[in-house]
Amino acid sequence: MTVIDTAPEPALQTAKERQARIVGGILVALAVAVAVFLGADAAGDATFRLSRPTDRFVLANLVLPASPFIYAASGVMAFLGVRQFLRGGVRWTSVSLGVGLTIAVLAFLVWATAGKAFSLTGMLQATMVRAVPIALGGLAGVLSERVAVVNIAIEGMLLAGAFAGALVGSLLGGVFGLLAAVLVGGLFGFILAALVVTYRMDQIIAGVVINLFVLGLTSYVSSQVFQEYRHLNNAPVFRSAKIPFLGDIPVIGPMVFDQNIFVYGALILVVLSTYYLFYTRLGLRARAVGEHPRAADTLGINVYRTRYINVTLAGMVAGFGGAWFTLGAVGRFDEGMTGGRGYIGLAAMIFGRWHPVGALAAALVFGFADSLQQKLALLQTPIPSEFLAMAPYVATIIVVAGLVGRAKAPAADGKPYVKE
């Protein structure tokens, strides 16, 4: 997102210090909460299953004594928080926050599992699957914000991809559905580019409008057409395909190498776009357009065309991610089925500091929160399921609030460019 970081230097410093102190305060509060609410309450051992009995290599279960583990976790968090509060290390803020939150989540998991057994590998596998749309959404954000086009429309592009995937997939089969999703996503990327580059519409308004339009259009067709012709909304689902040998590695195998085409595709796209943005001439040009369009223009780079191409590419990536919802999961389109994943992808992009690999890592965090919430329902914790469902959103707010100060957006992000 656009972060207006133009304040004079001293003011900036105090803002950062204050932010560091806020993070410190949050961590200390979390540590206290973990110790009081979880530590006192946990009894017995938490058993994590690392492999299934049918796997080729079977690992022993991981058994943790619940109460000591939670108190230790609380101690580490309190240390990080106090250190952050007193020293206010600017560079350490995000690391402390990340580590602290991870430990809090682990403590929570141990508390929920205390006295029971729980398949860790299964949850990691689900994490990967659930991270896919968020990672691809984040990647779409990276691609377009690197050329300084703020992309709020990811949500709409995901939804359009999901819809196109279901419709064409039902008619012509999964592969064509996937292709259609990518094309439709690209189309909306192109429309966004046209609105903001050629017609100089406000970028956030353009994004919001595309989201509203796609939501309206897909809901309309789904209630007007799909209700009547159900065979149009019954697409085949891509099954997971295990990669021989690699898929047998314990824990990592099921997580990364025994998945469907969307997980592989997301990983490949992350690698490809990292290569494209940081190791090719075109990528350098794209980034130049995002940082200083005037200079790029002076050097003969076509700013408008670069923005069109990259935003369209971003749309295609998001369209692919959208197909995950239908062709990768349920094979059927439902109104508004993306449920805010595009926005979480946007947060993943910020969390990942406008870098594809960072976006993937952040998406894994959100995917973890998402699958944790699903699995915790099975463990029957006393926490109401609604609060568990809120967890990814609360995490997003904390991440954005805690990190946005230091994460640097492309310099020209959000600003329209008018050629002289």
Binding site: A15, I205, V208, Q224, Y343, F387, I397
Partner: protein, 376 residues
């Protein structure tokens, strides 16, 4: 469709002739083009030509065709205008608040809870109290995003979207609590608001089914108050200064953090009031998702109204008319009301990109508009 024309009349002493193009012609073309494109969407989904004609007739009939239609239009417009005013105020202060939906939900549930908790109070106390509770809770909920923006720089677009998503779950949870849930029900539904807390229906003496209620006075008052805040008060000046040029505002001694929180809180109060208006005037209780997208439509209303209170009033009336007409369209022609969503989105596209309208309808504009507008 003479809303923009009336708007221009109201503002004619403030603006030059060239701006009339922007304020009258662009919105007119926008509405027209959106309706035409809506017809194309219907054609593409295999709706026959006579049915399309029928649906546009139903749209007209359902929005302004009868006393009941007018009542429905006003009923649908009221919360849109209230929430839209809040968003417009935020836009003026440079804040893009997408969180009206969540603020509507939180304000609405607060109004319901206060309403049934003090059911034995007389109406003169209970009704204002419930409305105030809605506004207060909406303001508090919005302030979270404002505070995050002011204290940490977290962009309000993301935090308000997240707060929306959180509010849905929070509402589900609240509706399941024993003291809120209706007695003897297993599904999430709140107790009913007592009659003393309801916004009275205005035309019940003609026909008890006419739903237009006293909330429209609230709306008119809100328009006047927001106008006063924005253009006559010091606070409003600071809002606008921060929105137009944050740098200059800061150097002029305006505390940007305070302004951000104040603007978000005011916007949230208006959205909360919109929620209270819905539950106390129309629904009588809270259910999951009772906001029905008001908060999102209100974004469109605020944009269409150019973030001006009077503009928002007319834009809200237009959207209320589309809403009421859309229901009639669904009944008469069997065309899904989701079509209205498409039309609304298209209207905003054309409003927010005047260059696009100028390209599509070049004959609607005088030639000299081109040099500064077009790319060379």
């Amino acid at each position: 469709m003479n809303d923009p024309a009336m708007k221009s009349l109201l503002e004619s002493r403030l603006i030059g002739r060239s701006q009339i193009e922007d304020i009258v012609i662009v919105p007119l073309f926008a509405v027209f083009a959106a309706l035409v494109l809506g017809a194309f969407v219907m054609l593409a989904t295999n709706v026959s030509l006579p049915t399309i004609g029928l649906s546009f007739l139903a749209l007209l009939k359902g929005s302004v065709g009868s006393l009941n239609a007018l009542s429905e239009t006003l009923t649908a417009a009221a919360p849109l205008i209230l929430a839209g005013l809040g968003l417009a105020l935020g836009f003026r202060a440079g804040l893009f608040n997408i969180g009206a939906e969540g603020q509507v939900l939180m304000g609405g549930i607060a109004a319901v809870v206060v309403g049934f908790s003090f059911a034995n109070f007389p109406a003169v106390i209970l009704l204002p109290l419930s409305l105030f509770a809605g506004a207060l809770v909406g303001a508090l909920y919005a302030s979270i995003a404002g505070w995050l923006r002011a204290a940490t720089g977290a962009h309000e677009v993301i935090s308000t979207i997240m707060l929306n998503l959180i509010s849905y779950r929070l509402l589900d949870y609240l509706l399941g609590l024993p003291f809120i849930q209706k007695e003897g029900r297993a599904d999430p539904i709140s107790k009913s608001v007592p009659e003393a807390a309801e916004l009275p229906r205005l035309l019940a003496f003609i026909d008890p089914n006419l739903r237009v209620h006293a909330g429209i006075f609230l709306v008119l008052a809100a328009v006047a108050i927001v106008y006063w805040i924005l253009f006559r008060s010091k606070l409003g000046f600071e809002f606008r200064a921060s929105g137009e040029n944050p740098e200059a505002a800061r150097f002029a001694g305006i505390h940007s953090g305070v302004i951000i929180v104040a603007a978000m809180a005011t916007a949230g109060a208006l959205a909360g009031l919109a929620g209270a208006n819905q539950v106390l005037g129309v629904l009588g209780r809270a259910t999951p998702g009772f906001s029905a997208g008001i908060g999102f439509d209100a974004i469109a209303v605020a944009l269409l109204g150019r973030s001006h209170p009077v503009g928002v009033l007319f834009a809200g009336l237009l959207f209320g008319a589309l809403e009421a007409g859309g229901r009639q369209m669904q009944v008469d022609a069997g065309v899904s009301i989701d079509l209205i969503g498409i039309i609304q989105a298209l209207i905003i596209v054309f409003i927010a990109a005047p260059l696009l309208v100028r390209t599509l309808f070049p004959w609607g504009f005088r030639k000299p508009a081109n040099p500064k507008g077009r790319t060379p």
